[in-house]
């Protein structure tokens, strides 16, 4: 494995090995010395051309715990905001000797472009591209689900997961559908028809428009953020109506089955897709997802960077 661009590049064995590695690395995060020498002397660039809190600091923490040098690079305050092209940015990174680039970009496919180009030789890790994919988030979600509901099994066989909300704009949903399916889980998408993408009927999922009938039947309720910044058009009449039909409120919390958990990739719109008291309830593993994110991203960096570097020109 050289890059992590899409969940569809992963085999089931690779995905499980990342999760297993992450659970061993989670130990480090609990210990007193939160640092390993493994990636000493490697340079990792966080190239964030789109805003992010969790993913950026999570990758930064992961890289630092493995002793890599981290260079943070965000659109604001860099030449990206002056209109520098992706190519010129990549050539700059190559000249600085970056061993890996963690890229978040508003254009779907930007990480792929970077990986396929001759512009730089390092590993490319997709940290979210447009409405395409967000593989590290899917891996940390799968890790969290396995930890809570896996019962010691290595995959997610038979676990039922509802992904609720703005599927249309959600790269998290796309990556999760692929990964959860790969690991044997059953996924049901719940959303208003306007927020489901064209061609969703070919996805390996079932689709429902009725949240109340789905909630008691699933083990995991994964809420998606309503992505107002990507909504120039009117996808639902108003926020109150969306919240009533597709929001997770305390009424719906009561109808969840006894062992089930609530997830959200963040950032949350409290009061819109998830009520504040639900987000803070005992079933919610939302804060834990963030902690698990560091372990999973350490595992990703370990798998991509710890091994033998490829010779120049050998792709």
């Amino acid at each position: 494995m050289r890059h992590l661009l899409s969940v569809s590049d992963l085999t089931k064995i690779q995905a499980i090995s990342i999760l297993d590695t992450a659970s061993e690395l989670a130990r480090i995060s609990e210990g007193t010395v939160k640092k390993l020498p493994t990636l000493r002397g490697r340079t990792i660039v966080n190239l964030f051309a789109e805003d992010s809190t969790r993913t950026r600091i999570s990758f930064e923490a992961a890289a630092k715990r493995l002793s890599a040098d981290v260079i943070n690079f965000s659109a604001k305050g860099s030449s990206l905001s002056k209109g520098e092209s992706l190519k010129d940015t990549a050539l700059t990174l190559q000249a600085m000797g970056a061993d890996a680039v963690v890229i978040r970009h508003s254009a779907s496919g930007a990480p792929q472009r970077l990986a396929d180009s001759e512009w730089m030789r390092g590993a490319v890790i997709n940290a979210g591209d447009g409405t395409h994919e967000h593989p590290s988030q899917a891996l940390l979600d799968a890790y969290t689900i396995r930890k809570h509901l896996g019962k010691g099994s290595s995959d997610l066989n038979g676990i039922r997961i509802a992904i609720v909300g703005d599927v249309l704009h959600s790269r998290v949903a796309r990556s999760n559908v692929l990964l959860l399916k790969l690991l044997g889980a059953n996924v049901v998408l719940v959303a208003p028809p306007t927020l489901l993408p064209v061609g969703v009927e070919s996805w390996p999922v079932t689709i429902s428009y009725d949240l109340d009938s789905v909630i008691p039947t699933v083990d995991v309720v994964m809420m998606l953020r309503v992505q107002q910044e990507r909504m120039a058009d009117l996808y639902f009449p108003n926020a109150r109506e969306y919240s009533r039909y597709f929001g997770l409120n305390s009424e719906r919390l009561k109808s969840m089955s006894a062992h089930s958990i609530i997830m959200h990739p963040g950032p949350m719109n409290r009061g819109l897709e998830i009520a504040a008291e639900v987000a803070d309830s005992a079933r919610s593993v939302i804060v834990e997802q963030v902690a698990n994110g560091v372990s999973v991203r350490m595992a990703i960096l370990y798998v991509l960077l710890a091994g033998k570097p490829l010779e120049a020109g050998n792709t």
Binding site: S17, T21, E24, L36, P37, V303, A306
Partner: protein
């Protein structure tokens, strides 16, 4: 391929090592064993069981993965990380015995010393190995050795254990 140690040789060596560890550490209640996965961890369990019988109390035993501390990570494909379990007593101030199957370049043990440093500061760190095959690349030696096997650098030494491979034996293979 030839058999260097048979099941009976291995069990005799482990019993002798157990006695030697107890002899060298007068207060057996301070001893903790940590095996290096995979086979070192199994050997540690066996040695702890034998020592427990001799000392008539349980000897804390665990395993310590050292993958993340290796200095040869960049020279090969990434290795899978193995489990680590530290006994509840921890390692702080204890007589820590590291257990591995074959002592060769010494690089695994160097990595293990780094990994130990991360979990605490033992009073002493000692090394027990079933086979010492020579060809050290670092100034490291074992305190307790089951068998010194002079080998050529082109040979490989393999330990099979009944827990994993169905049979106890040490093999020397030519490449």
């Amino acid at each position: 391929m030839s058999v260097a140690l048979q099941a009976s040789d291995i069990s005799r060596a482990l019993i002798r090592i157990s006695h030697e560890i107890l002899e060298a550490n007068s207060d057996s209640s301070q001893i903790t064993l940590l095996g290096i996965p995979t086979r070192g961890a199994h050997l540690a369990l066996r040695i702890a069981a034998i020592m427990g019988e001799i000392a008539t109390h349980q000897i804390p035993v665990g395993m310590l993965d050292i993958t993340m501390h290796r200095d040869d990570l960049r020279m090969r494909a990434p290795r899978a990380i193995m489990p680590t379990s530290i006994p509840p007593e921890g390692v702080e101030g204890r007589e820590l015995i590291l257990v591995d199957d074959v002592l060769f370049s010494g690089r695994t043990i160097r990595a293990a010393l780094d990994a130990v440093g991360e979990i605490g500061r033992p009073h002493t760190v000692q090394l027990a190995v079933l086979v010492d095959r020579g060809h050290r690349e670092l100034p490291i030696r074992a305190d307790f050795v089951g068998k010194n096997l002079p080998t050529s650098i082109s040979q490989s030494v393999k330990l099979h254990l009944s827990e994993l491979d169905g049979i106890d034996e040490v093999l020397i293979e030519e490449f």
